[in-house]
Symmetry: C2
Subunit: 342 residues, 2 copies
Amino acid sequence: MIKNDLFLRALKGETVDRPPVWMMRQAGRYLPEFRAIREKYDFFTRCQTPELASEITVQPIRRFGMDAAILFSDILVVPQAMNIEVQMKPNFGPYLPSPIRTPKDVEKVIVPDVTIALDYVMQAIKVTKQKLNEEVPLIGFAGSPWTLLCYCVQGQGSKTFDQAKEFCFTQPTAAHALLQKITDTTIAYLKEKAKAGVNAVQVFDSWGGMLSPADYTEFSWNYIQQIIDSLKEEVPVIVFGKGCWFALGKMAKSGAAALGVDWTCSAQNARHFTGGNITLQGNFDPARLLSPPSQIKKMVSQMINEFGKDKYIVNLGHGILPNVPLENAKAFIDAVKEWEAN
Amino acid sequence: MIKNDLFLRALKGETVDRPPVWMMRQAGRYLPEFRAIREKYDFFTRCQTPELASEITVQPIRRFGMDAAILFSDILVVPQAMNIEVQMKPNFGPYLPSPIRTPKDVEKVIVPDVTIALDYVMQAIKVTKQKLNEEVPLIGFAGSPWTLLCYCVQGQGSKTFDQAKEFCFTQPTAAHALLQKITDTTIAYLKEKAKAGVNAVQVFDSWGGMLSPADYTEFSWNYIQQIIDSLKEEVPVIVFGKGCWFALGKMAKSGAAALGVDWTCSAQNARHFTGGNITLQGNFDPARLLSPPSQIKKMVSQMINEFGKDKYIVNLGHGILPNVPLENAKAFIDAVKEWEAN
């Protein structure tokens, strides 16, 4: 059905002529057409208006022709739907005025009917699918329960998320109750997204790498595994854990269709840790997109040679930076399309 | 000469009855006696006044009896001595009002005579050695050239140090010139510290883990290696690279006496990556010191069993947090002293 199915074939581990490519945060501030919409509508209006969210989603595809689109949204729409107030402050980022700090705070958190509370996301998916016209697959996403807990407890971004960790380490029962509520909501949310038409889902564990391996298993991985178990029969699941190189072995046996890796984990290490049989996605340093385009092309070609063309999806190791020049983003995408086996 | 030489013996890889213990940032804000001095004197006054710096250095030894003291100072005294203005803003951290962004900026940076520009550090070492009275060894330290470049270019702390990376990736010649000036200054500085009486030095590469393995080699490791080569005959060198698990293999062959590891790298992985023959230091998650003292003691004992008692220095995986209760810090130190082989 999908005309360009490179991405879906890579997720299945099939042999391809070249690896597919997309970029985390490809629908973002580095695009002038994104900034034009951003000037007129605030963050949550963009997320909640299907016409805007779908427009933003297809912008990078029109300009650069990536092999997959990812629905414009935010991981924090989930806690918002769970009765936790989330604001997006300009030049500051997410701000949660009533952070969760006690068992009582956790009790107040609801597991919503996502077909109502997040219906706007499902509508955005339907409109986006029409605009994409079966040209490329559409990815839906969610934050990992741990990463969402980080924001819900800390109340804002942080270098270390100490308060979130303190909550888990001093009130583990309350922490696990919150993580389970987030997990239950996320499973229902991603199932609805699959029904609405996304072709794959990605779980972003942006802050998993702040935990020791033992704490990662307890507070992050066990919940991601629940999500994979509940979703994998319906839609391929990609797990991206930033800084989670130490968990790649476990992740490879989880039933996930692919694993994202960041740029600190070399292709060789990533293949070694995962046993060589699972599709990997990544791992260009987003700051390296500030290098000259000719250098970007060389580095991308080398990266493909190191990961190998099969069971591989070219991507960044984290979201694209707002100050990346358009020609540099183009060089990244073009390098993949121009790649030829040595 | 030193009465408690556990730390020095562990650095030599000798067999010990129990591993030595100290904590990064052990002379810090979690101590009421430190906060009392902090209320009266600003940051650089504390660094530049030998009586104050030495007093702060010995405070945690008096209270908890760690097996090594580390001179109270800051990594940013080095760029300050190189003609780069550094301010320490309350509730903000380091602020450099004239960040380095061009080759011309780099040209203005000087390699100072450290015996003059940083004489106050040498005086602080001498006073501290008197106060320690040969009870425990004294550690001196410096930031890695890459980590110092991060601050000099970014101008302040950052989650990603994008501007520092952009500088390296778009103006590599200027970046290498700056890194070499910092390296030359650091080598002279650490040699003077050794002459003044420190028994070991530690190089803090706090932001090495933000680089890909290839960029780490080019912009961080090659300069750390110069420091090790120049210092190792005079004083044992410990290298701590936060998030630098991917470089541990290279580090193990560098001539460093010991390597610090953070809590994302398990004892098993750290021993595996380093080949099992070099002394390792770490790696308790600082946020885990917020757990109840009884749990801290269990986790420390388990950590020692995992690393093994020999070729091991018990420490945190990063600096102690200001909100750690005193009894929790005490539990950490006591657990090591009470440890017995199974």
